[in-house]
């Protein structure tokens, strides 16, 4: 197989996940030895309409962006959603807890009625087009990114963890954040990050999204055991899980 042509596109996001690709440092040179980058606006001036793999970063928040991502999907053989904004909508979905007129007024005040301020409720990429692979996280774990690229180049299916962050957190020997009286989203959040946040003394805030079948009942029991309420849990779930299945359960 000749080297696949890869294009990276960004929508509404902080571009921190592209940064994690740059942060591969020397390893990025290895990645570039197995794929040919043909478009990557943040890093290079070349542009192309011919690519095999499209990598999409960011959420879809405007009708014109919805059209653009559909065009990209038509051209790409494989489409990868890069990072939480693309995979689940990420923090951008916090906006969906408000009315669109309301958010415009909050941010732009008297200018809110200007026509070019159009925004729609945030969508993940998968809510607009078919996504073949997801690189979860905010930001992504760049080791997982290279693993997925490696699998694709070798024609293998990547295996993404479908167990909660608690598993990885325990393996690192951390004391549970609930023992500190905190609300941690480890019990329902998809692993694969190696629990960097609890390992650094901070609760998991759920940036990788839910495991496929989160044990909601067990999460309730944890809340009861530590004297917390489901409302406490929900308040933190909203950060990366607004308007998603399970958040309201």
């Amino acid at each position: 197989m000749s080297k696949p042509r890869v294009a990276i596109f960004d929508f509404a996001c902080c571009e921190g996940c592209q940064l994690q690709v740059v942060n591969l440092e020397e390893e990025l040179l290895d990645v570039l030895s197995v794929v040919t980058p043909v478009e990557w606006r943040e890093a290079m001036s070349e542009q192309s309409e011919e690519y095999d793999i499209a990598i999409i970063e960011g959420s879809i928040t405007r009708p014109e962006d919805e059209e653009r991502v559909k065009k990209i999907r038509e051209r790409a053989k494989i489409l990868i959603a890069l990072g939480a904004c693309a995979t689940t909508g990420g923090v951008n979905k916090l906006k969906n807890n408000f009315g669109m007129d309301e958010v415009r007024t909050i941010v732009y005040g008297k200018d809110a009625a200007m026509p070019h301020l159009n925004t729609m409720p945030t969508k993940s990429v998968a809510e607009v087009v078919k996504v073949d692979y997801m690189v979860h996280g905010c930001p992504i774990n760049n080791k997982e990114f290279t693993y997925i690229v490696r699998c694709l180049v070798m024609g293998k299916q990547p295996v993404i963890p479908n167990y909660p962050v608690c598993v990885e957190c325990k393996m690192r020997g951390n004391v549970c954040r609930y023992e500190y009286g905190e609300i941690c989203l480890g019990p329902v959040t998809r692993a694969g990050c190696n629990a960097p946040c609890p390992s650094a003394g901070f609760w998991c805030f759920g940036c990788r999204g839910y495991v496929d079948d989160p044990n909601v009942q067990a999460a309730r029991e944890v809340m009861d055991k530590y004297g917390k309420t489901v409302e406490d849990l929900k308040s933190r779930l909203l950060l990366f899980g607004s308007k998603q299945e399970h958040t309201d359960e």
Binding site: C14, G16, E26, S45, L94, K95, V107, F205, S235, L239
Partner: protein, 433 residues
């Protein structure tokens, strides 16, 4: 002979976020000359409403991947201001040390990966790997050091998690600080080598000057400031408290571009490395001062392209000051102080220098500590009008050149500001022509 110039750069490359350049000229007359921003607005000031003061920095850090540490600190300083929370000297020094890792990572990325291709006449850093392998390896090394340093103290590479209201969630060990000291000491020769390569190419930076106002944090005579102090300007001796930042930024809607712009004493001002240098050059440490001298960079410089050079000077400054901070922390010994805070009703503001310029956040909280008001004023927004005014002065000066040369100069100008357009919580979505 009639000459038509028609430049439309849609989504300029090698910058963070989306921006367009539009220039039309005929027979030496400029018909349209605009810097436009079509970035999708993200509405962060609405997104934080109702959220706990403990979750604010987790959300607003996501305004920007490349200035996530700075956004975290602007939020934390504003929250602590609102709730009357004070932190220890150790916490203060560790925060500065963490903040420097971002300056190191961002400046080396900007100068090495985004600007250098223009100076060497290529379209990206990729061909430079083959043509200039030694210097590319050094840039990668500096960038990696910045990132690993951020991860070690911030808990994560990009979007730090150890920074909480009232202090740190976990602390670096003394052993780590000794290792960091060795790493930073050892990378100074690499940094000098990179600076010499930039110096050999500095002649490629266009000779263009336009006097303007420069705005940056000032903490004189204490230090060349990135983290402490008030808001200073080259147009007056006044130092404005961060709590009054709206009086500095004066955000307004321009009838010409409809993107929110800022102005203070004149029609535009500039923030970033050159602004910090123009306000704080006397406080540079010896190696950084020597680097500025090597480039002939002097206080009062008003060539915006020299912002790239000021970033190289700051890379040296950041390492020198970090080595001092590490020595002070090691002499005092790391004490096991972790973050503590209790919410209270109040409003506060924070000002911190992002790699690309001064950043302001303001929040108000109810008595449970839930956010009821937010406002973020972003460096690139503050530079917006200045980029436009530079375009208006630059284009007539170089209109005799070929269209490709004019376009390159305009693109290089935008890149020199190291814009971070994703940060643009205020940017309007503009559809042009």
């Amino acid at each position: 002979m009639s000459k038509t110039v028609d430049i439309h750069v849609h989504h300029i490359t090698r910058v963070e976020g989306h921006g367009n350049i539009r220039l039309r000229a005929e027979d030496g007359k400029v018909l349209q000359c605009e810097w436009q921003v079509p970035e999708a607005p993200r509405f962060f000031e609405a997104m934080v409403l109702g959220r706990s003061y403990e979750d604010i920095q987790t959300i607003v850090s996501r305004i920007c991947g490349i200035c996530s540490v700075t956004h975290t600190f602007a939020a934390i300083k504003a929250i602590e201001d609102a709730m009357g929370i004070t932190v220890s000297e150790q916490c203060d020094k560790l925060r500065m040390l963490l903040h420097y890792s971002e300056q190191m990572e961002s400046h080396s990325l900007h100068v090495g990966y985004l600007v250098a291709p223009d100076l060497l006449g290529v379209k990206s850093v990729v061909p430079l790997v083959a043509s200039h392998p030694e210097v590319v390896k050094k840039v990668i090394k500096l960038h990696r050091i910045g990132n690993q340093w951020m991860e070690a103290i911030g808990g994560r590479m990009t979007h730090p998690v150890t920074v909480k209201p009232g202090g740190f969630a976990s602390l670096p060990t003394e052993k780590y600080l000794r290792e960091l000291k060795a790493t930073l000491t050892e990378c100074i020769p690499d940094l000098k080598a990179v600076a010499e390569v930039v110096l050999s190419l500095a002649g490629k930076l266009p000779a263009f000057e336009r006097p303007t106002e420069y705005v940056a944090l000032v903490d004189s005579p204490r230090a060349y400031s990135f983290y402490h102090g008030g808001i200073g300007t080259t147009d007056s001796d006044e130092i404005v408290r961060p709590q009054e930042f709206e009086r500095v930024a004066n955000e307004y809607v321009s009838p010409q571009s409809t993107a929110k712009w800022c102005k203070w004493h004149r029609e535009s001002y500039m923030v970033g490395a050159l602004a910090r240098f123009n306000l704080n050059a006397e406080q540079l440490l010896p190696l950084a001062a020597a680097t500025a001298k090597m480039f002939g960079l002097k206080k009062g410089c008003c060539n915006p392209y020299m912002n790239n050079v000021a970033q190289v000077v700051e890379l040296v400054q950041v390492i020198e000051h970090s080595l001092q901070l590490i020595d002070e922390l090691l002499t005092a010994g790391i004490k096991p102080e972790l973050a503590k805070s209790t919410p209270r009703e109040g409003e506060g503001a924070g000002a911190v220098e992002a790699p690309r310029g001064i950043l302001f956040h303001r929040y108000a909280f109810d008595k449970k500590g839930n956010c009821v008001k937010a406002n973020c004023c972003i460096p690139t927004n503050q530079n917006h009008a200045n980029i436009q005014k530079d375009f208006e002065a630059l284009v007539p000066q170089f209109l005799g050149e070929s269209q490709d040369d004019i376009r390159l100069k305009m693109e290089m100008l935008v890149r020199a500001y190291d814009p971070c357009i994703s940060c643009s919580t205020h940017f309007l979505n503009v559809e042009f022509v």
